[in-house]
């Protein structure tokens, strides 16, 4: 049971800034994802919450108590490492009971507790085995067991599925989410895999270059990206960007794109200059009277849908259309956009321009 509040957290390693003033709130019981490309500062943020790194400045509140300078042993936060970090000289039982032994719990209580946890994780039969011979999934379960056995205030997980085979990841991610729902404990989860983040998270923080780009629910982050980076990073294939020179006006619901007027969500700001129109592949429809003329470059068949790669005067576009639609390479088609889903960006700042679609999703202005 814990609410974690991060306030203006910053971490420098010498001249290198790993995390720039970041703020967000992790509500009690939330499954919270820290998402970003490698080197973006997400793991450093996680380690600061756990106490493995001390922040250069800023505050971390755990249930209202400031803990940013406390040693990890006094924070009551569990950590699951990417490489599991099971103690190699101990067997499974000793690994799981190790956090309890440090609290001076009686031998009988430890035994009961380990039995309970191993039952939840389905590892009762391997308690007396050395950890060396376990499979990746079983090691992951033991690492989880070591984390949950002492019922900490919160769990930190550093890409816990990163070391597993693709096939097993799927299974483990479901298991993890189910475990979280059962225990209801606050979980902070670091990943670079946007699908994993979308699939498992209640909330997502997207980080890039030491900065929090956006903070919100998976749906908000996907539908209402706050920056070009988020729009590009989330989604596969990622959002299409059409670069153009133009202007938008407060209150208007269309924009001049070349010779065409394109319908967009009603804008809430006046911006002029180099703009970017962002549209998701599934919000492009192909027809003979579409507003942007394109030539089909390639078709990727994906079962229920197909990705059509188009060449237009604004560069390459990708459209996700129903697989029953007959499209052939070399066809000339018109592309039109689902107006209510379009986000416009200011190219210079990389930020989304405020509209009725995304109003209110930017916690950082």
């Amino acid at each position: 049971m814990a609410e974690i509040v991060i306030k203006d957290l910053r971490k420098d390693f010498g001249d290198f800034t790993a995390v720039k003033e970041s703020s967000f709130t992790i509500a009690d019981g939330e499954f919270f994802m820290l998402l970003g490309p490698s080197g973006c500062g997400k793991t450093t943020t996680l380690r600061m919450i756990a106490g493995l790194e001390l922040p250069s400045s800023g505050e971390i509140f755990l249930n209202g108590e400031e803990i940013s300078q406390k040693p990890p042993s006094q924070r009551d936060i569990a950590f699951v490492f990417q490489m599991f970090a099971l103690y190699p000289h101990m067997n499974v039982r000793k690994n799981i009971s190790y956090p309890l032994a440090s609290q001076g719990m009686s031998r009988r209580d430890i035994k009961a507790k380990v039995a309970e946890v191993s039952k939840i994780l389905g590892i009762e039969h391997m308690l007396d085995r050395p950890v060396g011979g376990l499979s990746g999934g079983d090691r992951q379960r033991v690492a989880l067991g070591r984390a949950i056995v002492r019922e900490p205030k919160a769990f930190m997980m550093d890409e816990p599925l990163g070391a597993l085979d693709a096939e097993f990841r799927e299974h483990m991610s479901e298991e993890l989410r189910a475990l979280h729902d059962r225990m209801g404990a606050t979980t902070v989860y670091v990943t670079h895999d946007q699908l994993e983040a979308m699939q498992m998270g209640d909330k997502i923080v997207v980080m890039n270059n030491a900065v929090v780009e956006q903070f919100g629910t998976p749906r908000d982050i996907y539908d209402k990206p706050a920056s070009l980076f988020v729009a590009d990073f989330i989604g596969s294939p990622s959002m299409n960007f059409l670069y153009f020179n133009g202007q938008v006006f407060d209150g208007h619901a269309s924009v001049q794109l070349g010779q065409q007027m394109v319908d967009i969500p009603q804008q809430l700001a006046n911006v002029e200059g180099e703009l970017v129109l962002g549209v998701r592949p599934e919000h492009i429809s192909l027809s003979d009277n579409g507003i942007i003329r394109c030539e089909v470059l390639a078709v990727e068949y994906l079962g229920t849908t197909q990705i059509v790669v188009l060449a237009s005067e604004y560069g390459e576009l990708k459209a996700r259309v129903d697989s029953t639609l007959a499209v052939n390479v070399g066809d000339h088609v018109g592309a039109s956009f689902n107006a209510s889903t379009i986000t416009l960006f200011n190219k210079a700042s990389g930020k989304a321009i405020r509209s009725v679609l995304n109003d209110g999703v930017f916690p950082h202005g």
């Binding site: 990890p72 490489m83 970090a85 190699p88 440090s102």
Partner: protein, 312 residues
């Protein structure tokens, strides 16, 4: 027949095995000869051609541990019958046991000084190596180089300053002095070797222990040390072998109370002629502790450093 690129063929294994065994046998011949000599009688030990088959005798060991005086046959006959086998061997040479020799004490000195300095080197070396490996230390690389630089000349090159220093400090011919000296020589080796081993241990283990509610020292003691056992064992063997075999400083700085076995064993030669079996017996006994120590730690030397708790 199946063919593997990485596995050597049985023919290659056979050739390699033969070479290794031949080499081992050749290097073992002198040792074997010393051990054989220790069980010979003095006449057998100097007979020509050398005797490979002989009647084994414990005379060398008896002579090593005792001092003896020659007595006239009349007095010998007047003595009561010998109480033990040692007395019997000595009387066959027209002598009686006058008392114990100094070998026992010298051997004990070697044990105290050898193992004491080994323990101290490994103890300090482990702490220093851990600090160099895990903490941000200003000028760490320079300090490590400085530590290593003490090995860039033969230790005996500084014998005279050390001799003068020890005389001033009253450390000459003391156990403490010799332990400190051998520790000083070994510590650079220990720090460098152990740093390599500790660098190999993933930090996650300690971090996991910190998270699990242990202090930094507990994490070091309970998690890092067991992982570093291999490195500690091999470092200890190297340190012990140096301290155990060291001769030059022992000759220079010890003469009585703290004299170790290496400078003592050759002095046996002077007592009543060339008593080769006694010298060989001394050398044989002297070999044993290092041999036992190495065999005991052999398991650690052969075992890999990590055994798969971190996924590769």
């Amino acid at each position: 027949m199946s063919y593997s690129v990485t596995e050597p063929s049985s023919r290659q294994k056979w050739i390699a095995g033969t070479l290794v065994i031949t080499y081992a046998l050749i290097t073992m011949v002198p040792l074997l000869w010393i051990m054989m000599t220790s069980f010979k009688t003095p006449p057998d030990s100097i007979s020509y051609p050398p005797k490979v088959m002989y009647q084994p005798s414990l005379e060398g060991y008896v002579n090593l541990f005792t001092t003896r005086t020659r007595v006239s046959p009349e007095r010998l006959a007047a003595l009561p019958p010998p109480e033990n086998f040692a007395e019997e061997i000595v009387r066959n040479r027209n002598m009686v046991i006058a008392g114990p020799s100094k070998f026992g004490g010298r051997f004990l000195n070697s044990v105290i000084i050898g193992f004491g300095s080994t323990f101290l080197s490994v103890f300090l070396g482990t702490l220093a190596a851990y600090a160099f490996s895990r903490f941000k230390i200003p000028l760490a690389d320079d300090l490590l180089f400085f530590i290593l630089s003490t090995r860039m000349m033969p230790p005996i090159a500084v014998a005279i300053p050390i001799f003068l220093m020890y005389r001033k400090l009253g450390l000459t011919d003391t156990h403490l002095g010799m332990i400190l000296l051998y520790t000083a020589v070994n510590i650079s080796l220990a720090v460098w070797l152990l740093k390599g081993f500790i660098d190999e241990i993933p930090r996650e283990y300690e971090e996991a222990a910190l998270i699990d509610g242990y202090t930094r020292f507990q994490a070091f003691y309970k998690v890092v040390l067991p992982q570093a056992a291999t490195g500690i064992a091999s470092t200890a063997i190297f340190c012990l072998i140096f301290a155990w075999n060291e001769y030059a400083f022992a000759v220079l700085l010890t003469s009585g109370t703290a004299q170790t076995a290496p400078p003592f064993i050759p002095t046996i030669i002077g007592v009543g002629g060339l008593d080769w079996p006694a010298i060989a017996a001394g050398a044989t006994l002297f070999l044993l502790p290092v041999m036992i120590f190495t065999v005991m730690l052999r398991k650690h030397l052969l075992r890999g450093i990590t055994f798969g708790a971190v996924r590769k």
